[in-house]
């Protein structure tokens, strides 16, 4: 069976890509600052001993957000306006735009651009670099989303990761397998006084096809208001909370032995929580699940998101994601399951 990377565009590229080495990848790429933050979170927790609780500020009117973006993006006439759940759903000629109930979240996709992505496929090695994606993303935000992605004092927009959409196929008569990268994605987050917002809140995700056209974006970008402070627990206690929450979610007893905080020297991950269950990443900051969450809340408390993999002897994996609160005395939140699990005896 042949296995090659194949562009769907020009013959020259086809010929070149046919010689690509099998196994060439266009894998997701967490940027160095993201990895550094994950390393710091699991070894140190937070830089501060206390942080304020935040509240997502009052709602922005959905229709107004939709109108502003439609004008800015030059989308023309709205052909249909409806409600999908709490979201405002607007569609026009080959585009759709959804605005969340509080107006802070928008999901936009351009189906005309998406339809071109396949024909512009490139060999996997031809993916956009993270640096190029960051530059394109910042330029788009500045040009088209500046009225929505507003940074307050001591706030920063930071690039977090680059991801890639790849395609493949096999001709069953020849056995030939082809691969291509067809879209490139950059994820931005936000820091407040140097502390990142973790979770799906305060994110801007932009997708570009290979000719540089924007295919889609999704953002959640609220204004935050600071309230009372919470004193924060240390890294070891954060890991204990993750261990307790994961045990509850797996419906197993909490281990009697506590998790060892890894050394700051060398690679910290994976961190064993229980036998066969490892923490892959921990990111501490203000935890905001976003306006796209199934259970929305205005409350944004200090917390740490986790990514955990359980793997048995046959190789079967189970992935668990979520977040634990990091305040010594956190507030219970009906929209945040871990805050309920952790107060159980």
């Amino acid at each position: 069976m042949k296995n090659k990377n194949l562009s769907f565009a020009a013959s020259a590229v086809l010929a070149a890509s046919a010689m690509m080495i099998a196994g060439s990848t266009a894998r997701a790429e967490e940027l160095p600052q993201t990895k550094a933050h994950q390393q710091f979170s699991v070894t140190q927790g937070f830089r501060d001993s206390a942080l304020p609780v935040l509240h997502r500020a009052s709602a922005v009117e959905q229709n107004k957000v939709g109108s502003v973006l439609i004008e800015k993006l030059g989308l023309g006439k709205v052909e249909q306006s409806s409600k999908l759940g709490d979201s405002l759903h607007l569609t026009g000629k080959q585009w759709a735009l959804d605005v969340t109930a509080d107006g802070a979240g928008v999901d936009y996709r351009n189906t005309a651009v998406e339809a071109r992505a396949h024909a512009l496929g490139k060999p996997l090695s031809g993916k956009m670099s993270a640096a190029e994606l960051e530059q394109k993303g910042r330029a788009f935000i500045a040009a088209k989303l500046a009225s929505q992605i507003v940074l307050g004092a001591e706030e920063q927009l930071v690039a977090l990761r680059a991801d890639y959409r790849t395609e493949g196929g096999q001709d069953l008569s020849t056995g030939e397998i082809t691969n291509a990268v067809v879209a490139n994605r950059i994820v931005f987050g936000r820091t407040l006084h140097g502390v990142p917002v973790v979770g799906n809140g305060s994110k801007v995700i932009l997708t570009f096809i290979n000719d540089g056209s924007l295919e889609s974006f999704r953002y959640d970008w609220p204004r935050y208001q600071a309230a009372d402070s919470q004193n924060l627990i240390a890294a070891g206690q954060i890991l204990s909370r993750v261990q307790k929450v994961i045990s509850a979610r797996k419906d197993v007893a909490v281990p009697t032995s506590s998790v060892t905080v890894p050394s700051s020297e060398g690679e910290a991950y994976p961190v064993e929580l229980t036998p066969n269950t490892n923490l892959q990443a921990l990111e501490c900051g203000y935890y905001d699940a976003s306006s796209f969450a199934t259970h929305t809340t205005q409350l944004v408390q200090p917390g740490c998101t986790y990514r955990v993999i359980s793997q048995d002897s046959d190789g079967m994996r189970a992935g668990y994601a979520g977040a634990v609160p990091a305040g010594v005395r956190f507030q219970q939140d009906a929209a945040w399951l871990a805050t309920q699990i952790l107060v159980r005896k």
């Binding site: 999908l84 759903h89 493949g168 196929g169 419906d251 990514r307």
Partner: protein, 271 residues
């Protein structure tokens, strides 16, 4: 038309094939279009004698149903106790709507553990509740009988793994039945305390977006570490890519491709 929603119980109550959670809802759907597209849902979060890790999938499945139900009937919502025959081609359960058969609806959705190489066997498999029991893609021929399922979407890890060149080995039997759309993952999918993936996908389906981009975006946006995949067949490469852009309406109208009509298969991954 029936709209029966069955939830789950825990512990000893799991010994029946189908567990009724104490309420059954019958819903009348007024939309003419809804009468033609039937959904079925099966989800399993805990497993007999803990043979597989407990995963919290029910909120996601509940929320998926809540969104789909705004536009289309959901014929059943069952767990996966004793469910293996419901996936086996030729078994009476496979086309039995009251049994939760995969070929008894147009659009089948499931969440449970999945794998593509369990115990070093290259097979796409889905964990049943029953002790060390899997539904195997080798035993499936999706879309060839009964209601002829058109879409098979599974929030499960790894079953659409495609980096090793053995995708067709795993899926040729199932895809040869004519099913038009597979959604799943080529790697990890994370269950979350607050699942956003499954209802997000449902929202794209109901909105009339392409099913493939709806799955890829809904699952990715819920967790950027998720590794979603879609796959389908075509008579040739162009036909395969064209069919991959189908929405729900197009899914219902396009012709199934079976056996020698299939000349190409194609997939798309995020991450």
């Amino acid at each position: 038309m029936k709209g029966r929603f069955l939830s789950y119980l825990s512990g000893a109550a799991r010994n029946a094939l189908i567990v009724v959670a104490g309420f059954t809802m019958f819903t009348i759907f007024a939309s003419p279009a809804s009468a033609t597209i039937h959904f079925g849902v099966r989800c399993e979060g805990s497993f007999q004698d803990n043979w597989a890790p407990t995963i919290d999938v029910y909120d996601g499945c509940d929320n998926y149903i809540s969104v789909i139900q705004t536009a289309y009937p959901v014929d059943f919502y069952f767990n996966l106790q004793g469910a293996q025959p419901a996936f086996e081609y030729g078994n009476a359960d496979e086309t039995c709507n009251g049994c939760g058969g995969v070929d008894s609806v147009d659009f089948f959705f499931m969440s449970t553990h999945g794998d593509s190489n369990i115990a070093q066997v290259n097979n796409a498999v889905y964990a049943m509740w029953d002790y060390q029991t899997w539904a195997s893609a080798y035993q499936m021929r999706l879309g060839d009988s009964g209601k002829q399922v058109k879409a098979f979407a599974t929030f499960s890890c790894d079953t659409l793994y495609n980096a090793d060149g053995k995708f067709w080995h795993r899926w040729s039997s199932a895809l040869s039945g004519g099913v038009k759309f597979l959604a799943g993952a080529h790697g990890n999918l994370y269950t979350d305390e607050d699942d956003q993936a499954m209802p997000a996908f449902a929202q794209y389906v109901v909105a009339g977006d392409a099913l493939g981009s709806g799955w890829l975006n809904g699952v990715y946006y819920a967790n950027t570490d998720n590794q979603p995949t879609i796959a389908n067949t075509g008579s040739n490469a162009n036909n395969c890519w064209t069919r991959q852009g189908v929405n729900l309406s197009g899914l219902m109208s396009e012709s199934p491709l079976r056996d020698s009509q299939i000349g190409y298969y194609c997939w798309t991954n995020w991450n």
